[in-house]
Symmetry: C2
């Protein structure tokens, strides 16, 4: 049976999930999977950006080992699906919330920019 290693549902950890989603390429993958009706292979789910195949492979592994996606080998390709139910069981509402938030963050390249328009601390506390 074509098998990759996945954490059991109870072993999905929040920091791992957030770290997995805290990368522009990986959250793009998750968005693509969330928008897809069925599972997607790595080439379809992976962004078109200038990302090497080996790097993409690495990103999928991070998502898989964090418990975010389920990966099944099917013929020559891998079918990836979001572990929606598992994530919801563990952290109800989290995935949907992050997907919603990611809609408010598209467009801005969000990637390697150091810090666009930095701001200094004004004497008083911020927007509290």
């Amino acid at each position: 049976m074509s098998c990759y290693l996945h954490p059991a549902t109870d072993d999905i950890r929040l920091p791992a999930v957030l770290a997995a989603l805290g990368d522009p390429v990986r959250i793009a993958i998750v968005r693509a999977l969330a928008a897809a009706e069925a599972g997607l292979n790595c080439s379809m789910a992976g962004p078109i950006e200038n990302v090497a195949r080996s790097t993409l492979s690495h990103h999928f592994r991070v998502l898989r080992e964090a418990g975010v996606i389920w990966m099944v080998k099917k013929g020559v390709e891998n079918i990836n699906t979001l572990r929606r139910a598992d994530l919801d069981g563990r952290f109800p509402g989290l995935l949907d919330q992050i997907l919603r938030s990611s809609c408010a963050d598209i467009g801005q390249d969000s990637a390697s920019e150091p810090m666009a328009k930095p701001v200094e601390a004004h004497g008083a506390l911020p927007s509290a």
Copy 2:
């Protein structure tokens, strides 16, 4: 004016926020700040774990540069506050959702464990 560099509200990026919170030490800091009535200095907000001061300083910088916390120098210490309103303005509901989720993840060391009880892909798709 004692000033650190903070991103402007509009420059807060989701991947940066998730990556910042995707670390056991850093989310512990954020939880402490969320639970506190007022701002906390680094020693109070930082976990008691075996984390060197220099490392803690690094973690606070990551949180600050991701736009998660506001840091103001006050006398000999730094006062840290959550940028609740800014985060909510940018990603409504996200912070609260993550804080809720983090409650479901305490206890489990969540840290460096490789993968506790791994599971193999069963022929059919998972909990879909």
